[in-house]
Amino acid sequence: MSPLTAEAVFVAPRTLPEVYTALEALGPAATLLSGGMSLMPMLNRGIGPRDAIVSLGRVDGLAEVTLRGGRLSIGATATHTAIARHPLVARSAGVLATAAGGIGDLQVRNRGTIGGAVAHGNAGADYLTVLSALEATVVIGGSAGERRAALGDFVLGLRSTDLRHGEVVTAVEVDGSAPDAAAFLRYHRVQGAAPTITAAAVIRDDRTVLAIGGATPTPTVVRVSSVEQALAAVDAACAANPLGDAHNPPDYRRAMAAVHTRRVLEEAAA
């Protein structure tokens, strides 16, 4: 690790307004830290600024899970462990609890947060896929006030989001009424590694929403009328916006996307 030479600051405010003030005061060099399970490995490799860290870890109430006005709201700093175990999540969006419980490993789930994962916007991330199928809304706070964005509008590309400087993902909201059926699948190369493909299907009385993550830079979301139509739509998306790396090249991800499209729809319908 490179030596820590220059002076650095670390602030861990108790309230969101204090977070916004700190982000404004520190400017673009500020690094917003939640659970750190994506960010810390990058900082440890020397990727990204680390001399002005603003932690969300001490903001009161930011990890709360509530069910109000028919919406399930999950605070940004709720950990994967907390989400996997929370009775309100189990009741309203069990598929989200399933996804949370399969991320990384116990130590990662004890630390990683849903707000951090959404703000990181990594392709194939368990939450992005399951939240897409749940048609989630991202709640974004800033000194100018609060705004809401559909997840699909918020995640712009591979690890790229519409979060502007000075803003913070404060919560994620989904429909508080449980779907009729749902399923989530995670396909990974080795245990603990980031998933290759994640797949989620959520069936409600008037619609079935499928999301496939990891085959395209952002989740491919399909309103499903039949398995064949979903397969065609996913394949077309993979062809138009391929994603791949040395371990999992685009053709492989495209093939696995098809396998998991079929599988997750069958599992949800079972």
Partner: protein, 157 residues
């Protein structure tokens, strides 16, 4: 540098740390507790596993500053060198290690697992240790060690 105050292995402790410093570096280089090992610095291997407020975390990917006001428990757990608990004794007896580099993290995860689940089955044990990698692949004897300490605590052996 900033001052942090934490409860370290049950005792209050004040440390001066760099704001960018990871918890494992502060533990090893400032508190001189070298049980937690640095393996990957990417939250993968688990050699640096410690408990933070009772939950296991990978201390290479937690800032020391984040531990301010919190309780940290390391593999040393306040014991003197040579003083072993029943988990460590079981690892020694079952030869639950080859090179031993991953062992401190394994021991912390096993203590935490048995605190949560007194009678874990093999599936629960492997899930509990999924975040701790043994690059010697000595998993069979690690499982034997966990079964041994579990069964001793339950009076089965």
């Amino acid at each position: 540098m900033i001052d942090i105050e934490l409860t370290l292995n049950g005792r209050p402790r004040r440390l001066a740390v760099d704001p960018r410093e990871s918890l494992v570096d502060a533990l090893r280089e400032r508190a001189r507790l070298t049980g937690a090992h640095v393996g990957c610095r990417t939250a993968s291997c688990g050699a640096c596993t410690v408990e933070l407020d009772g939950n296991t975390v990978k201390s290479c990917c937690v800032l020391a500053a984040e531990a301010d006001g919190r309780a940290v428990r390391t593999v040393e757990n306040g014991a003197e060198p040579g003083e072993l608990d029943d988990v460590q004794v079981a690892f020694a007896e079952a030869q639950g290690m080859q090179c031993g580099y991953c062992t401190p993290g394994m021991v912390v995860s096993v203590r935490n697992l048995l605190d949560r689940i007194a009678d874990p089955d093999d599936d629960e044990i492997t899930r509990g240790l999924a975040g701790n990698l043994c690059r010697c692949t000595g998993y069979v004897n690690i499982l034997k060690a966990v079964r041994l300490v579990r069964d001793r605590r339950l009076g089965r052996v």
